[in-house]
Symmetry: C2
Subunit: 437 residues, 2 copies
């Protein structure tokens, strides 16, 4: 579709028509998903390579569409940081095209044999990886998400339905306009990737309930968006609400490592879900560890919100801090702020993390292997780190090559979700006429 047609669609359809529009998109996606499930790796890669080329040769329309979103953002008084996140540049487009080629180069997860058994009656049972089917992605305002999600779903053989935020609607529409040619080039159905051509909330509400056609919803964005999706979808949702991540400095922590890892976990990128928000320190080592680590955090402009025990230690060292509120201990600050508590035992640290954390990414710093093993076993989070920064909970860092998000759910996928996690499996059973007694 042209950007203009999409704009009109966004502005004008009656609510009564929206349900029909979204239903038709979902039905076409389901039909396309059955074709995609048996598409070859070569076909999928050809579409991705062509898409990368189209991004490179379409800077002009992409940047023009982005300029319309940016003009609206300025008109609506968005903050500079928000506007920067919306902004496409030739460099960002080059990087995006490169990421499409990187996904083309990743192994195809579809068709992988997961296990195989031959039963006493001679039945040969194979479990093979297959696409999930149709995946809906609900996202907010980042301009790269349309392409990121489209390519990961395509490579994993899933049809995708994309619904982005209104702040980036023209940019998304311009990206989506590149897809039909890339798909057609590879003989793949145009409906394999579809952008919902409106940001009307009624369309989203319809989409979230089409469980006959859509098999999985992945929301990407702030907690309020994710909660809205989780509460309104009848389709299974894979998600994380937030990341209240802990670093626990054990009695036997190496002080230098405690400092570098805590500072990295807290400050290397404050706005992401795997950044640390909470610091726990074993009482027996608090006098030694805490002043050093706290001074390094304060030097990194981190504001420390302390329980009475940690406050007393920092006061003795004349290290700036404030008193924590109860809410601070469960807060995802996404800022240069960290809550600090002293704990009496490792078990107390584990219990606090399981109670107050979000089961995302938590770390222990210790030289004591037995303590580390107990922490790794006891902390009920998607990724548990021993002597490493929580910031590593990421599909690229885990070697997946790419990720569509991080899950704190316990069903299907937990932690970073790469191409394999965008797949399901089915059983193929071969016999010679076996019947059941």
């Amino acid at each position: 579709m042209s950007a203009n047609a999409a704009t009109n669609a966004a502005a004008t359809p009656a609510t009564a028509d929206l349900a029909g529009l979204v239903l038709a998109i979902a039905k076409r996606a389901r039909a396309a998903s059955l074709e995609l499930a048996t598409a070859t790796t070569a076909q999928k890669n050809a579409a991705l390579e062509r898409l990368a080329g189209l991004i490179e040769t379409s800077h002009e329309p992409l940047l023009a569409a982005n300029a319309r979103d940016l003009a609206a953002a300025r008109e609506n008084g968005l903050a500079a940081a928000q506007i920067d996140r919306l902004t496409l540049t030739p460099e960002r487009l080059a990087h995006l095209a490169e990421s499409v080629r990187q996904v083309a180069a990743l192994p195809d997860p579809v068709g992988e044999l997961l296990d195989e058994t031959t039963r006493p009656n001679g039945l040969r049972i194979r479990r093979v990886r297959v696409p999930i089917g149709v995946i809906g992605i609900i996202y907010e305002a980042r301009p790269n998400v349309t392409i990121d999600c489209a390519i990961l779903c395509l490579k994993s053989g899933n049809a995708s339905i994309l619904r982005g935020g209104k702040e980036i609607f023209h940019t998304n529409t311009a990206f989506a306009a590149l897809l039909p040619a890339a798909l057609a080039h590879a003989g793949l159905p145009a409906d394999a990737v579809q952008l919902i051509p409106t940001t009307d909330r009624a369309a989203l509400n319809t989409l979230l309930k089409l469980d006959d056609y859509i098999h999985c919803i992945i929301p990407r964005g702030g907690e309020s968006l994710i909660r809205f999706v989780a509460e309104n979808a009848t389709i299974p949702v894979i998600k994380h609400y937030n990341g209240v991540c802990f670093v626990y400095l054990d009695e036997a922590a190496d002080p230098a490592m405690a400092e570098t890892v805590t500072v990295n976990a807290k400050t290397s990128r404050v706005s992401v879900c795997n950044a640390a928000e909470q610091l726990l320190v074993h009482r027996a080592a608090a006098d030694t560890l805490l002043p050093r680590v706290a001074r390094a955090l304060v030097a990194g402009k981190v504001g420390l919100r302390c329980d009475p025990a940690s406050a007393a230690i920092l006061a003795r060292g004349q290290i700036p801090h404030t008193a924590a509120t109860e809410a601070d201990y469960r807060t995802e600050f996404l800022a240069l702020t960290m809550a600090v508590r002293v704990v009496d035992t490792l078990d107390e640290a584990v219990a606090i993390i399981n109670r107050d954390g979000s089961a995302h990414s938590d770390a222990i710093i210790t030289r004591d292997e037995a303590a580390a093993r107990r922490f790794l076993a006891g902390v009920d989070s998607s990724a548990v780190f021993w002597n490493a920064s929580t910031r590593f909970n990421d599909g690229f860092e885990f070697g997946f090559g790419a990720e569509i998000g991080i899950s704190t759910d316990r069903l299907h996928a937990r932690g970073p979700m790469g191409l394999r996690e965008l797949c399901s499996y089915k059983f193929l059973v071969e016999g010679t006429g076996q019947v059941r007694g």
Copy 2:
């Protein structure tokens, strides 16, 4: 609790109290799940062995409780077949105790290393199998389900919350009364398995929304129960609604195999989800195959509901049949009834199965390997069979040792769910102070 206390609980709590009761159960289950997650295999097996013994030595209270349910069933005019399903006998109890010992003998899925990688920066990343956490099981009137589900959840390290139907309430309560002693014997928390002590629908409604404490719901029962659960739960649900399973007799089907497999798939047990309901026959072979297969089905007392093409063939052979309605082609008869259609191509058969089936279990009968491969790849169901009966889609038949159900969902588990499918995973990451750049 005693059966009396439970009866009173079922009869008397004010609706206002129910939410609090269920919330307290869920919180205790969550706490127990954190203990269970690090329980040893020996502990879990000791609890199971003790439970098996308790079932064997508790025939008297179990049969007495069952007698109360049976008396109520007769008073309420339940059909003989329904009453038979509710009935415990010494033989059924002996079988149940044996099934508990069989689960004790199965390998423990918890702690299994799924994969391991060492990254260029030296981080060692292991993905290990862990329990899901807290699982809610919602079921109807079969007396063995309380124990079946309790033992599979326990062996897989999950705390369980059981909510059975009112027709079997006293029996369930008597089974649940055996669990605390078995758990205590192994040093496991009493809250590892809890029965909701009321069948009030308000309690169920509360339970289905406690996603802060319960991680997965598995409904077991009729389609209306499952739809109620899926529509009202904010907790992820793993389920199948029904089993509209197909047998497709290909152009190159062996006639004798077509007959035996179709008859087995349709008649060996008509009330189960993996029984065939729908027969498709390739037009080129219909004249040969259909009369033989249809005569065998009719001899097995199967009523055939035919499309015009198959009806014409059966009419020529004077084989009894009726005309199918459109609804018949999508019906799970759960009875000695089968709908029959003639198709022009294998691709048409695949398209019909993907459109009208329930993605559960579907079979092709053919000697043509290329045709079979296309069918196996194209049919988008949890298990696809080549020259074998759909009735084999079952955890025991697949070698899982036991199953908690069959999923037609695409997330987490698809097909039979054994102990492994009751697990999630988490990442354990070990470093030497690595930080992210």
